[in-house]
Structures are given as C-alpha cells and as structure tokens.
Symmetry: C2
Subunit: 295 residues, 2 copies
Amino acid sequence: MPTSTVRRFNRLHTRVLGVLDDDFLSRGRPLGASRLLFEIGDGTTVADLRDRLDLDSGYVSRLLRSLEADDLVSTAPDPIDSRRRFVSLTDAGRRERAELDRLSDRHVDDLLEPLDPRRRVELADVLDRARRLLIAATVTFADIDPSTPEALFALRSYYAELDSTFEAGFDPGEPGADGVDYVRPRGRFVIVRIDDESDRPFPTVGGCGAVTRLEPGVAEIKRMWIHPDARGLGLAGRLLRHLEDAARSDGHRRVRLDTNDALLPAIEMYRTSGYAEIDRYNDNPYARLFFEKPL
Amino acid sequence: MPTSTVRRFNRLHTRVLGVLDDDFLSRGRPLGASRLLFEIGDGTTVADLRDRLDLDSGYVSRLLRSLEADDLVSTAPDPIDSRRRFVSLTDAGRRERAELDRLSDRHVDDLLEPLDPRRRVELADVLDRARRLLIAATVTFADIDPSTPEALFALRSYYAELDSTFEAGFDPGEPGADGVDYVRPRGRFVIVRIDDESDRPFPTVGGCGAVTRLEPGVAEIKRMWIHPDARGLGLAGRLLRHLEDAARSDGHRRVRLDTNDALLPAIEMYRTSGYAEIDRYNDNPYARLFFEKPL
DNA sequence: TCTTTTCTCTGACTCGGGTCAGATATCGTT
DNA sequence: AACGATATCTGACCCGAGTCAGAGAAAAGA
C-alpha cells in the first residue's frame, strides 16, 4: 500500500513541480549548462564538477566553454597543479545564478499562491517530513578507518554533544586510542552516511558507532551517536543492529555497552532491543549503566 | 519559508525517485514508447494519445510504429471514422506494461525497504497529504454551461449526496430549471476542476457551485458542493469567495443562501465568512437556515 | 459532385545530451 | 632525463526527443 501511494505521489509531483523546474532553468542555454552554474558555487576544478555530476570529461569541457562564451564563468590553471583548471563564476555568472534561483522560487510561490497560509505551512511540513524519511531510507552504513576526516568529524561531534549534555562535561581522553581499538581485527568503526546533496566534501555524516573486542567472544559497542537533525527516523535502531551484526560476523557471542543515566532515549532503546542490565564491567567514569545482549 | 522547503524536497525527490523511474522505464526502447504503453490503456485513437500526451502527430505515429515492430501494439482503422486509427495493446503489450508496473513497484519497494513498517506508512501518509494539498493548489474554477456532461455529473453527485444525508431524502425537482437560472445573464455555474491525470474524459470534477439572480442587486448562491475526497483542503472557502466575486462582478450588492441544519460544517463556514442569519426568503422545503452577506 | 476539413503517416530536419578515442600538457617517480 | 599517470580538451560520433512540411485517405459540408 505505501508503494502505490508513493508512486501516485511521484506521478503528480513530476507533473506539477519537476518538469517545469527544468523547463525554465534553461534560459536560452542547454539545461546542463545551467546546472553547472549551481554546481560551480564559489569555484572548483573541472575534475570535481565531473565526478559530482557524474559527467563525461569532454562533455563538461564543452559545457564550460559554452558558459565561457556567454561570459558566465572563467577558468584558470589551478596554481597547485596546473594540469587542473580552476573554474569560477564571473560577476555575470553569479547574477545569472541568482536569477535562476529567483525564478525557481517564483515558480514555487506561484504554485502555492492559491493555498491559504495555514495549508501552505502544512504542505511544507509534510514535505519536510517526507524528505527526512526518504533520507533515512537512503542512508548507508559504511565501515571506515576511524582516522579519516569523516570519522574524526563524527567523533568530535559526538564528544561535543556529550560535553554539553553531562553536567560535569566530557573529556574524550587521549586521542588516538581509537586508532587501534576500532580497526580490524580488534574492532570496527561505522559511519552513517546521509546522501543529501550539496554538503561537501563528503556526504553528510549522520552518525557513527564502533565495535571493539573486550575479551574472547565478547564485543563492546561504543561511540554510538546519531546527528541531532537525523533523530526520530529510526536510525539509531538500525545502527545498533548493524553494529551487532558486525560483532557477530567477527565471531563474538555477546555484546556489552555502557551508558550514562542522562541518555534516557538510548537506555530505552537498549532495553527494547534485548539488552539486560549487568554489573559494571569497566572503569569508564562517565558510565552509570551497563548492558549486555547475547547475539 | 514554505518555498525553500518545497524546493529542497524537490531536489531530493528528483534524485531518489524521479530520475530512476525514467531510467528503467526504458527497457531497451525509447522512453516515450514506454509511456505510450500506459497511455493506450484498453485502446484509444491516435488523436487521443496525441493530445493526452501533447505530442506531435508525426512523433506519435513513429512511436506507435516502433511499438508495432516489437509486436506490443496493434492498430486498425476506427470502424466509426476510418480516417482514425484505433490503437490497442497486444497480449505481449499487456504483459510488457504489467512488467513495467512491476519494476516501478519494485523500485519503490527497494527504496522503502530499509524503513521500519511504521515509518513506511508514515511516509505514505505524509506524501498522500502532500499530494492532496498540491492538487488543491492546482485546482481551477471554471464557468461552464450547466447542461454540459461535466456540470451534470457534478450536480448529480451533489443531489445524490443530499439524498443520502437528509433523513427524508432529497428530490432535486424538475431538471432543466438550472438551464436558465445558472446561465448568464441570470447566473453562473462554476465547476471545480481537479487536474489529476488519468481521469477521462474530463479532468476530475472536484465540486461545483452556482449563482443566480434573486432580485435586483441580490444574488443567491446555490448548489455549492465539494467532492468528499477533496474536503479538508480549503476548497469550499475558495469556491465561496469565487462565487461571491462572480456575483459582485455581475453587479450584485448582496448574496443570500439557504442551507439545511444537517450541514454543520457548511453553516460554520458561512458564519466565519461574514454571513449573518436572516429570515426565510424562499419556500425551499429542504432549507432550514437562511444567510445573507453584503458584498 | 466538388471542395474543404480532418486524421494519420512519412521524410527531412534540429537540438540537446552524451560517449569515445585520441592529442596535449603537466605531475610524480625512478 | 625518462616514463607512466593524471587532467583537460577537441573532434567525430550516436541517439532520443521533438518539429515541420507536406502527402494521401476519408469524412463533412456546400
């Protein structure tokens, strides 16, 4: 049933919103060229454009030259590596991009105009909820090295949040310990990747989690965190299951985890996910509750 | 604010749902050809396809021949008018259409798969609400002749609903009276057109309403009806305002209307729209309440 | 009956989007 | 200095989508 409802919505959407958007985005020039204007942003290299839009190198080159002919972009050799060309918008290009933006806004405004303000807001609300659910549906879990920028970004966000949650603050201790604990064969570091365009350089980090070996057959789940903007979408539960699966496939029979009594929703999730409270099994000063689950 | 939210949703939507849909709809053949398979349905004429999809006649012809070459459709002269050609699907064509349908479903299913059932339903719910609000935004009000099939359909639906609402039933009286009352210069008949694909021969009728002259400067609003599926979208209020505008531009200074005390939401709307209760001004046996509003 | 209109089809064409195979220049490494 | 890898560009293509101008057959009107 959800399937047919989604398809029904899709048909309407492409008709009233999608198609038209493309229509007038092409102001005299090929549509692909207009898209480039947005993708260039504050300047990038040709290679970057190429793999962001997944286009043939020759094709991008041609599009850029047509934009150059219209004096909307300018290119120059990248000072660092002069095989590369650095592309940026000219003033006219920035104006054109702003104009396209304005037209898109205008198009949506015109569409919403007949609705009363209350329903306009309601539409925005339901579409935003739909967007978040779609993002949740397209999230991916990836094992990565905990020393990569992506992982460090997640960990730092997590620590910062703990620091502001706990009354006494939070000190992550000496960094680099993660370097061994969360790397195979001792453990894993998992990132929740949100495939929401436009956030560079890597897809938005929606959360993280780690597994590490405690003793033979027993793993510990640590560093579980979901970005505040991505909560309420069922991601924490999916991440937990993913980490349990990882532990299981690494040969563990039980998983443990500790938590602080300030993290109520987390505690609730552990209980409903089959975790039972056990005695303290480590000397983590921030931990007040300890759980275990057989795999 | 709603504007940017809508655009934000659009970007995500075309990426995760829209584009892919087109992608695999083209199973070896040009996309337009696949679309035709759906549009042909249980058989139509070439002209019908042409203006339903708004395509060039030569183009449709070519697409049809390519489908014929694949043995998916067959054409024959229309027995009624042999300038026309009647197009219908072969068995293979029907199978292919079913297969495309299955693939589309599958694609959506795969997308929803990671979501837990509760959130899957929630997504369907919010998308359906969004669809209904978008439909409400794209509705059009049109003055038409009350004797057209479209108008008759609306009126009959309205009478049928009254008949099942009133305990004693409802008898619309001698038909044809509308023929003079709701036609200029004495009055108007307005139809609410819902531009939701697929419902032929005319866009779905979402409601109706009429204005007629009572006495110099005084108009009466009658036959106001919104299709049950289209309620809760603010259409009744917009229709009422549209009818008032029509009365005003026809030179009236006041509008009256009568209603039955069983129609509570309508009564509530009249009160909040500036109508004041007045004494009975006609002998309509179904009316119990009478309202008037200065324009 | 003759003329005009309607409906479909064909051929010739345009255009945007995109691929592919080099050519050229630069960088990194040995 | 030489070699392979990398980044960009150019020219030659292909293909799908769509337009346009008739041609031919049938229907409708005078």
